[in-house]
């Protein structure tokens, strides 16, 4: 571990952001494992890419900004990339599933 000391409020904030991101990502991943249907799993796994990634990247940005004593914003690149690509990937997967199964769950064709 390095010897750079942060102010107490910043340390608490970074710790809370990292832990919250971990918990949210774990909830999303557990939902992926436990839920019954593909569309329900798609709904749960979005949590990892949106709120979990946002919390962790904000915590990392705060940490490096305060330890380097200047504005460090390179995590915005990842946040932007994830925010742009995650909906596209989910949309493609949902369309592929709809095409392969031919119907939405609960709307079976007779």
């Amino acid at each position: 571990m390095n010897a750079i000391s942060l102010p107490a409020w910043a340390e608490l904030l970074v710790a809370v952001l990292l832990a919250a991101g971990g918990v949210i990502a774990l909830i999303g991943s557990a939902g992926l494992l436990r839920l019954a249907d593909f569309f329900q799993r798609l709904h749960a796994s979005t949590l990892v890419n949106t709120l979990g990634a946002l919390c962790v990247l904000a915590g990392s940005m705060l940490f490096f900004t305060l330890t380097a004593r200047r504005l460090v914003l390179h995590e915005i690149l990842i946040a932007l990339l994830v925010a742009l690509t995650a909906p596209v990937a989910s949309m493609l997967l949902a369309r592929a599933t709809l095409y392969r199964t031919g119907h939405l769950p609960g709307h079976e064709r007779s």
Partner: protein
């Protein structure tokens, strides 16, 4: 880097590792192909966040670039596999 931040980093690492475990189980036993693609997407997202947390824990910005590359190529892989499931081929003539 005092005790609190070190504990939070260790906890986040544990959470992301458990999330990768969940995604790996779904990847192995997923009933359909799209479930496996979705599990792979969750797997690489968790790995990317794990690398960001590792960069905070070790105080190094080198891990950021690996996380960026994982995010980029993970999306390319997911999009290619979803396109393959949708149309039967990735690059159409």
């Amino acid at each position: 880097m005092t005790n609190l931040l070190a504990w939070a980093g260790a906890f986040a690492t544990l959470c992301f590792t458990a999330g990768m475990g969940c995604a790996a189980i779904r990847l192995l036993k997923g009933p359909s192909a799209q479930d496996r693609v979705l599990a792979l997407e969750v797997f690489y997202s968790n790995a990317m966040l794990l690398l960001v947390v590792l960069g905070v824990r070790l105080g190094s910005t080198l891990y950021f670039e690996i996380a960026l590359l994982i995010a980029l190529f993970g999306f390319v892989g997911t999009a290619a596999m979803a396109k393959f499931l949708l149309r039967g081929e990735v690059i159409e003539p």
